[in-house]
Symmetry: C3
Amino acid sequence: MNSFPESTVLGKNVVIEEGVRIGENVQIGHNTVILKDTQIGNNVKIGSNCVLGIVPGGNQKMRKINNGEKPLIIHNGTRIGSLVSIYANSVVKENVFIGDQASIRENVTVGEESVIGRSAIIELNTQIGKRCTIQTLAYVTGDTVIEDQVFIGPCVSMSNDKYMGAKDYHLKGPYIKEGAKIGNNASLLPGISIGKRTIVGAGSVVTKDIADDEIVVGIPAKKR
Amino acid sequence: MNSFPESTVLGKNVVIEEGVRIGENVQIGHNTVILKDTQIGNNVKIGSNCVLGIVPGGNQKMRKINNGEKPLIIHNGTRIGSLVSIYANSVVKENVFIGDQASIRENVTVGEESVIGRSAIIELNTQIGKRCTIQTLAYVTGDTVIEDQVFIGPCVSMSNDKYMGAKDYHLKGPYIKEGAKIGNNASLLPGISIGKRTIVGAGSVVTKDIADDEIVVGIPAKKR
Amino acid sequence: MNSFPESTVLGKNVVIEEGVRIGENVQIGHNTVILKDTQIGNNVKIGSNCVLGIVPGGNQKMRKINNGEKPLIIHNGTRIGSLVSIYANSVVKENVFIGDQASIRENVTVGEESVIGRSAIIELNTQIGKRCTIQTLAYVTGDTVIEDQVFIGPCVSMSNDKYMGAKDYHLKGPYIKEGAKIGNNASLLPGISIGKRTIVGAGSVVTKDIADDEIVVGIPAKKR
């Protein structure tokens, strides 16, 4: 049986599996599910009907957690909305905000004070820096690097597979440098890099690397 | 303890917080969470695993609801799918349909007989008129006005922040006039207006105001 | 009262309505809701907080299930993530994978070994072939045919209503032939067909039929 600090506020029908650790002053909403070994820091608030600590590949009941994998770690002061799913083996740093219905896969790091918008999706093996904004319904593909203070607009789309499943390919998402801003509904192709402080216009399709301090728009995205 | 009409049909594991009011002939699906003070009219049907009445800014247990804020109000005859999240201080009028996994923030009004598609997202401070269709996965940004009988296609994207977080800016979403139709996956930029009965083609990017009764397409969207 | 095989592993607070049938070695996560008459094959794994077997049009408690409608059928070996919604009168074939927060409407068939990405949405009356990949956040509209081994990239958008609600129109989604690949965030218009092995570039808008073995890009999409 787990034991949690007296300061823990649990909603109704909360399910907490074995090995979960909870810090001080944590609130967990109704019907939320915290799976095996998840670690929750101090002053974390979690909404209702979330599923946290999902083990990829499906079966969290029969596999061995000691099989080299790590739990989901949620650091102090982070706030998570409702209906959110987050996988094991990811780290959410201090004072992050994760909106309702967002989803984060395994082997992801979300840096301090970043915001993950509602229904935004972060795929596996992706690093997000500090104080980034990933807006609502944005899709951050796998194997992506997003440096600090990047702004990803609503509904931005990325891909990491040049051949769309047709050939063997070393999957590689975009590399987005510090302070870049991607306009809403832009599309970023596999493996491209976007320079520091560069701005990509709404609806653009970025097909090749863009240098620092540029403004690009259109399909394909070109200097304005 | 709340008391509800005998005509109420509650699923299993439903959580209803204090102050909730429920009209006649209401059905609430399994595992749905109705948070503090939410008001539900007559003949409302709600699916399973929803979270309704979320207080923005996080902590619905410790703040004072009388702090100038209003509850979520759902009017007669409205139907809500499963896995939906809706915030406090919003009003959903009569006979609205809200699809599964949709999300609606605070200080939003959804007019009579409008349809909010599955996984559509409505941000805060937004007004939606009567008999509108907001299609599946459409993103209606904050500070937006949508008049009556507007059609927003699937996956349409909008933004309300011209500088993408870089400067102080008075956030302003699009203003979409009566009977306008926005094609699927179009992008609308901050503060633009779209005229009455105007049609925006699929995949277009609208960068400036469009008059009444126009048809525009492309990036940027121009008269055809 | 239902009776299930001893091999069934049920999470906490699982709700199973009457008439549900469950095969051997099935696992169902916490707080998941399985509605009336749903049929689940052998070796199926389902995550937490799902809602499966939703009856369209709302009220699964008061209608008659024998009214010519069929249940949701999930075949052997299929795996379903968390927070997923699937409707009655659809068939998910063997060894399908359905990601978290995905949603599938009624009268849909998903063929063997296909993958439905996270938060992807499949509308009603749609057929998806074998070994297809429908990527994350893709929107497959109603009345669509997707043949075998098709790749639909992330955030692809489709529509099936040429007049956007303005006129009576026989709704018709795209027809996508065997082995076609649709790049991320492309938009497909109502009723168009895409030929075998044809590739549509990221962010393109397909406005007319495309033959077999083509590569098309841009708005509107043209041969490269």
